[in-house]
């Protein structure tokens, strides 16, 4: 896929870091403010879609990023299940909130909820980008 004009590329270069940071902020503050793993993950996936649309992608690059995206999606799902199984091991209940609750409204509070948010954020971000790649670069990924 071809890239876009120089104006789009320059603006993308300036904005891309800020959008990524905003996505990470939404994920990390999911237990304090509106948002969470799903919303932040979609914003992070949007960063990669924007980069792909603005700069275009080569055949090798698309293949490589599809593999990376599927690895990250699996890692996110595994993290989520591991947190759930830790609850089963420690307290005998699947998804038990085994960590200390801490003071409400602090970043490190609410036990396992922020870690679940991070796992879902990774999973949703990688998963949504791999849907986009499956639509955009299907020919190259499936060639062999």
């Amino acid at each position: 896929m071809k890239g876009m004009s120089l104006i789009v590329k320059t603006i993308t270069n300036i904005m891309i870091g800020f959008i990524f940071l905003y996505g990470v902020y939404i994920i990390l503050h999911g237990h304090l403010t509106p948002g969470g793993g799903f919303a932040g993950g979609v914003i992070v996936a949007g960063v990669f879609v924007l980069r792909y649309l603005a700069f275009g992608g080569s055949k090798a690059g698309e293949k490589k990023s599809s593999i990376t995206a599927s690895v990250f999606e699996s890692v996110g799902a595994l993290l989520f299940v591991i947190i759930a199984l830790l609850g089963l091991l420690i307290a005998g209940v699947f998804f038990f909130n085994f960590l200390p609750k801490g003071t409400p409204l602090y970043l490190l509070s609410a036990g396992i909820i922020p870690f679940c948010n991070i796992a879902i954020g990774i999973k949703v971000g990688a998963g949504l980008f791999s849907i986009f790649l499956a639509l955009a670069a299907f020919k190259y990924i499936m060639e062999d």
Partner: protein
């Protein structure tokens, strides 16, 4: 309350335009109007979590739709000038089903509580125990990742399913040759 109904009427009009218009780019923009109205309605009924997700997903889908349309064609060739017999039959059957469904729905509506005054049997417990039991300041996060985390585990597989759907739709091997 009245603004919710205004948005509902606007959404209905935009949805009908999206299905009937011949220019696909205009259809996608009308679809976007429906999606953003849903986001505004979420804000009006005080659900910012859902509004954020709705806005972000809507932007991403419209970008993907527009990218596809720019690469392929603007004109929708599936809208027929004349209706065939099967189309008329399907429309009549659909209308009959819709009327039956509407009658059943009106009878069922008498039994549910009025808008904005839910019985809150389960939700009341969530609101009462959310902060002391789960400890998160955002009640939505408490519900979806503590009280109902198993539900979220199932929801997390939805994206994986949709990747499989895309691959199954676009594959060449295993499809019957014409």
């Amino acid at each position: 309350m009245i603004e919710l109904y205004l948005f509902l009427i606007f959404m209905l009009v935009a949805a009908i335009i999206a299905t009937e218009i011949k220019d696909l780019l205009a259809a996608v923009i009308s679809l976007g109007a429906v999606g953003f109205s849903v986001a505004i309605m979420f804000i009006l009924v005080q659900a910012p979590d859902l509004a954020i997700v709705q806005i972000v997903v809507e932007v991403l889908t419209i970008v993907i739709f527009v990218a596809v349309i720019l690469k392929t064609t603007h004109i929708d060739e599936t809208i027929a000038e004349k209706f065939s017999g099967t189309q008329v039959l399907a429309t009549v059957l659909y209308a009959v089903f819709a009327i039956l469904f509407f009658i059943a729905m009106v009878r069922a509506m008498n039994d549910i509580p009025p808008f904005g005054q839910a019985t809150m049997r389960v939700a009341g417990q969530y609101i009462r125990l959310g902060l002391p039991r789960a400890g998160g300041a955002n009640l939505v996060a408490d519900v979806i990742l503590d009280f109902r985390a198993l539900d979220t585990l199932g929801e997390a597989t939805v994206l994986f399913t949709s990747v499989i759907g895309v691959v199954a739709l676009m594959r060449k091997i295993g499809r019957r040759q014409k």
